[in-house]
Symmetry: C2
Subunit: 315 residues, 2 copies
């Protein structure tokens, strides 16, 4: 067990309120009378989650996106944010603040507080988002049942390819770089889907690693048909669409798409939501009895790759 997993396990021992959801969901869900608050707090560390020479406004976008995406997965509307910020270079600080301002405005989220501190080490940025969901029944990762369809919003792999382009290890379209630089958390889709799904979470560390987490939380197995994975034209042009390209897309991070399960009776309603929002919603597999992930494509069973995505702690 990693040091991180061990520490979260200790916290789990006393984070026993229902709102904590066992520290195993995208966000906390706190009922307050007839209001349902959804709270999430994700951090970014310089040199770990972003590179020191990444543009500061992109770091602000990413900090907001990782948190918004958690709210999207719970069908919540974001209300307000609190920022935790370690000061550094003043020009960087200003550019970060300007980026944060623009992104918060784009999502109608108010900055309402936080803390700024001096620090000698790498920057550690933290954002707390508070949102509101329509209760009861805020989707969790744990509600998937054998027989349910497995769905994915949008396309995957684009942001990972965009990052590879920025790092010089891939050539491809600017659209891919934009997918990395300007994350688009699926807030509208999350709200529209919330009452139709049996389980929902966001895909931020890689489809396979996140699908595995959903399978574990729901005590089921998940079967994914690689041939059905939604890839963008730009991704296919840059990387291809063979098995290796599909596995690469399924293990890349920063997608901020929604992974959800639903009974097959919901297919018509889900398709309508996708059309209304002009957002592809694709069935990529199914929930089965058992445990863990199973991959297939036209060639038959596909062995799981060594790395399923990006490993880190997130509660």
């Amino acid at each position: 067990m990693s040091a991180e997993a061990a520490f979260i396990d200790i916290l789990r021992g006393f984070a026993t309120a229902p709102a904590a959801r066992g520290l195993a969901d995208d966000a906390a869900v706190l009922e307050l009378g007839d209001r349902v608050l959804v709270l999430t707090k994700d951090m970014l560390a310089e040199g770990v989650h972003y590179l020191p020479d990444d543009p500061p406004d992109h770091v602000a976008s990413k900090l907001l996106a990782v948190n918004l995406s958690d709210l999207a997965a719970k069908g919540a509307r974001p209300l307000a944010a609190l920022l935790g910020y370690t000061l550094g270079d003043e020009a960087w600080d200003r550019a970060f603040a300007e980026g944060l301002r623009a992104d918060l405005a784009a999502h109608s989220v108010s900055l309402i507080g936080g803390d700024t501190i001096a620090s000698n080490g790498p920057r550690i940025l933290s954002l707390t988002l508070i949102g509101e969901a329509r209760g009861p029944g805020v989707p969790s990762r744990a509600g998937a049942r054998p027989g349910d369809d497995l769905w994915l919003s949008g396309t995957i792999g684009d942001a990972g390819a965009g990052l590879a382009i920025l790092r010089g290890s891939l050539t491809g379209s600017d659209d891919l770089v934009s997918r990395y630089r300007i994350p688009r958390p699926r807030l509208q889709a999350g709200r529209a889907l919330a009452t139709l799904v049996s389980a929902m979470m966001d895909v931020s560390d890689g489809l396979l690693i996140d699908a595995g987490r959903m399978a574990r939380a729901s005590l089921i197995g998940i079967e994914i048909d690689l041939d059905t994975l939604p890839l963008s034209d730009a991704y296919i042009a840059a990387v291809g669409d063979d098995r290796a390209a599909r596995l690469r897309a399924a293990t890349a991070g920063d997608d901020y798409e929604l992974l959800f399960t639903a009974h097959e009776a919901g297919r018509g309603n889900i398709a309508e939501i996708g059309e209304r929002l002009a957002l592809p919603l694709t069935r990529i597999g199914r929930c089965i009895d058992g445990t863990g992930l199973t991959l297939t494509d036209a060639g038959g069973p596909v062995p799981l790759p060594d790395s399923l995505g990006w490993q880190h702690g997130d509660a």
Copy 2:
């Protein structure tokens, strides 16, 4: 203007929702229908806010206390916490978690989420607390009016003296060390006082610096009579009670007492609350027309010391 003040000024330019209170209060106050949420997020950095060899359970106590004290100052009842944590030494992590567990339980606060990350630098710890206040009219720093009494809960200077004892620059009673090691945010008093005060804030950086902030927020002047400052017997035994000792107490940090103002018609009710809670509530001065701080003692006007307390950013 410090880099910190400049950065907060930029944030203030777009943190314009009423809930943000201009980033100039102890906490954000978010109204949601007929519920009033109070949110605060304070951070501690290793080497800045605590020493690397401080006991981890004390660091947990302090992290919780700085945030609880913000809620106390708004008369809010704490509900739940989200932790932002940079992993380090595993034994330290375990001891921190155990301390946090005990302290959260003592205050009936649930840990409901957060994030843990790896980092190469000094630890940066962050806690978001969400509480609930009885609305409307959650006390701010900005409501004090000329003529109001200025009050302080408990005694001041004890924690600062306790820290000096730990650092070997002072000898004195273990009670002082306990005041530093085990902060006691005034949650009950804050709730009891909330409807009686015209302004309220917590004293965490030093009485003088915090009183100056209240004066600025309320657009008034504040006059403090040093002779009335409540000092503990242990403090007087260790440091004395002359002018220098009183100025030292008034500029020490980590008190976590409440500073509040009220119309003189409230004196009887306030005294009753102090008796009921067995907590000294002392009139230490008054609000006047004008700006800034004025100090006096039996000897007449007292010049302001160069340092009024501990300077750092906190919104």
